[in-house]
C-alpha cells in the first residue's frame, strides 16, 4: 500500500533513497568476462560476410536484380525448359512398338532404330518430315551395329522408311503399310493420344 501522508520520518527516508541512487549512478559498472565475450560474439556474427565498408561505395542492389551473366544464364535455362515442354520431351518410345503413347496430346520422342552393321549411311524419311532425306540422319550407336534417331511426333499415324546407303528399307519391327504406290512399301508408326 502506498501512503502519501507527510512526516519527518518520510523525509529522512527520501533523503537516504536519493543518496543511494546517486551512489549507484556514480559507481562505474564492471561487466563480467562472460558477458563481455557474449557481446563480442554477437558483434562478430553480425558483421561476418557483409563488410560495411563497401556499402557506401556501391549502391544497394534491389532484391530482384542479378548479375548480367546470371540473367543471361537464367534466360537460357528457361528457354531449354520451355523448349522441352513445347516438344514434350519424354522418355523415348520405340518405333518398333508401333504405338508410342503421347499423354495429354503432346508430342512424344519416338526412337527409331535400325540394325545395319555394314551400312555407312542410314536416313529416316516419312510423313513427319515431308519425306526429306536431309533432316533425320541416324547415328551409329555405341554397339557399332545399331543406328538410331529420336523424333518428336504428335499423335497420329505415320508412314516411314529407312534409306540405307541409298536403298529404301522397311523397319522389320514395325507394321507394314499396304500402299506401295511407288515400288517400295513403307512401315507404320502409331503415336497414340490419351
Amino acid at each position: 500500500m502506498i501512503d502519501n501522508g507527510g512526516g519527518a520520518a518520510d523525509g529522512m527516508v527520501a533523503a537516504r533513497v536519493l543518496r543511494a541512487a546517486r551512489t549507484l549512478r556514480d559507481t562505474p559498472v564492471a561487466p563480467s568476462d562472460a558477458w563481455r565475450r557474449e557481446v563480442l560474439e554477437v558483434i562478430e556474427r553480425g558483421t561476418s560476410g557483409a563488410p560495411a565498408s563497401t556499402s557506401a561505395a556501391t549502391p544497394a542492389r534491389p532484391w530482384w536484380s542479378m548479375h548480367p551473366v546470371l540473367a543471361v544464364a537464367a534466360g537460357l535455362f528457361c528457354m531449354l525448359i520451355g523448349a522441352a515442354a513445347a516438344l514434350g520431351v519424354r522418355p523415348a518410345a520405340d518405333s518398333g512398338g508401333a504405338a508410342a503413347s503421347a499423354a495429354d496430346g503432346a508430342p512424344v520422342n519416338v526412337r527409331f532404330t535400325f540394325t545395319a552393321p555394314a551400312a555407312t549411311n542410314v536416313v529416316l524419311v516419312g510423313d513427319f518430315n515431308g519425306w526429306s532425306a536431309s533432316t533425320h540422319q541416324l547415328r551409329r550407336a555405341a554397339d557399332g551395329r545399331t543406328w538410331e534417331v529420336q523424333v518428336p511426333l504428335m499423335p497420329g499415324r505415320y508412314a516411314y522408311s529407312f534409306v540405307v546407303d541409298g536403298a529404301f528399307v522397311l523397319d522389320p519391327a514395325a507394321p507394314r503399310a499396304a500402299d506401295d504406290d511407288f515400288g517400295s512399301p513403307n512401315s507404320i508408326v502409331m503415336v497414340r493420344g490419351t
Binding site: A83, A86, T135, A178, D181, I188, M190
Partner: protein, 217 residues
C-alpha cells in the same frame, strides 16, 4: 523494366522462335521440295486435288505426304498424281464407314486397310467394337489388320480376331503383341492362317489384361 530484364526477354523470345522454326522445318522442306521438283502443271493438278479433299472435309496432310514420298522415290509425275488421287478416294471411302469425327490418323489407317483388301464391312465392325475404347485404339486396330493382310492373312479373319480384342478392351500393348507374334510366326515359315489361328487361341483364350471375368453360372 531494367536492361537486364529486357535482355532476358529477348533471349527467351529467340529461343521460342528457334524451337518453333525447327518444328515447322519438315513441312517447309516438304513444300519447297515439291515446288522444286514438279512441273507447274503437275503442281496445279496436285493443288486441285488437295483443295478438293480439304473442301470435302478430308485431311490434306496425307495427300501432301504421299506426293512428297513420290518425289523422293523418283516416281514419274503421272504416277504421283495417280497415287494422290487414289489416296483421296480411299480416305473418302474410309470416312463413309468410320465414325463421324474420326481423326486424320484413323482415316489414314482406314484408307490403308481398304488398300490392303480389308472390306468396308470389317471397317464398320471394328468401328462398332471400338466404341468406348481409348482414343487411337481404332486406328491401331486398322493398322494391325492392314499389316496382317499385307502378310497374306485373310483380311476378314484378321478383322475378326482384332475385333474380339477390341471387344475385350485389350490394351494397345496386347494388340501390338498379337501382330508381332503373328508376323514372327509367318516369317518363321508358318502359314498365315495357321499363325493367326494359333495366336488367336493363345491370346483370346485367356482374359484380357484388366478384364473382369464373368461369374460362372
Amino acid at each position: 523494366m531494367t536492361r537486364m530484364s529486357c535482355r532476358a526477354i529477348v533471349v527467351l523470345t529467340l529461343g521460342w522462335l528457334g524451337t518453333a522454326s525447327a518444328f515447322a522445318q519438315g513441312n517447309a522442306q516438304s513444300a519447297s521440295a515439291l515446288s522444286a521438283r514438279l512441273s507447274p502443271a503437275t503442281r496445279a493438278q496436285l493443288e486441285r486435288l488437295v483443295d478438293s479433299a480439304r473442301a470435302s472435309g478430308l485431311p490434306a496432310e496425307p495427300l501432301v505426304a504421299r506426293a512428297a514420298e513420290g518425289v523422293l522415290k523418283g516416281a514419274d509425275e503421272a504416277r504421283i498424281v495417280g497415287a494422290v488421287r487414289s489416296l483421296a478416294r480411299e480416305l473418302a471411302a474410309a470416312r463413309a464407314v468410320l465414325p463421324a469425327g474420326a481423326s486424320a490418323a484413323t482415316l489414314a489407317a482406314g484408307a490403308g486397310a481398304l488398300r490392303a483388301g480389308v472390306s468396308r464391312e470389317t471397317l464398320r465392325r471394328l468401328s462398332v467394337a471400338s466404341i468406348g475404347a481409348a482414343e487411337g485404339d481404332l486406328a491401331l486396330a486398322l493398322v494391325t489388320v492392314a499389316d496382317m493382310a499385307a502378310n497374306q492373312v485373310p483380311p476378314t479373319r484378321a478383322g475378326e480376331a482384332v475385333e474380339q480384342l477390341l471387344q475385350r478392351r485389350a490394351p494397345a500393348s496386347e494388340i501390338m503383341a498379337f501382330r508381332e507374334t503373328v508376323a514372327r510366326d509367318i516369317l518363321a515359315g508358318v502359314s498365315p492362317v495357321d499363325a493367326l489361328d494359333a495366336r488367336s487361341r493363345t491370346i483370346l483364350g485367356r482374359p484380357a489384361a484388366g478384364a473382369t471375368i464373368p461369374p460362372i453360372p
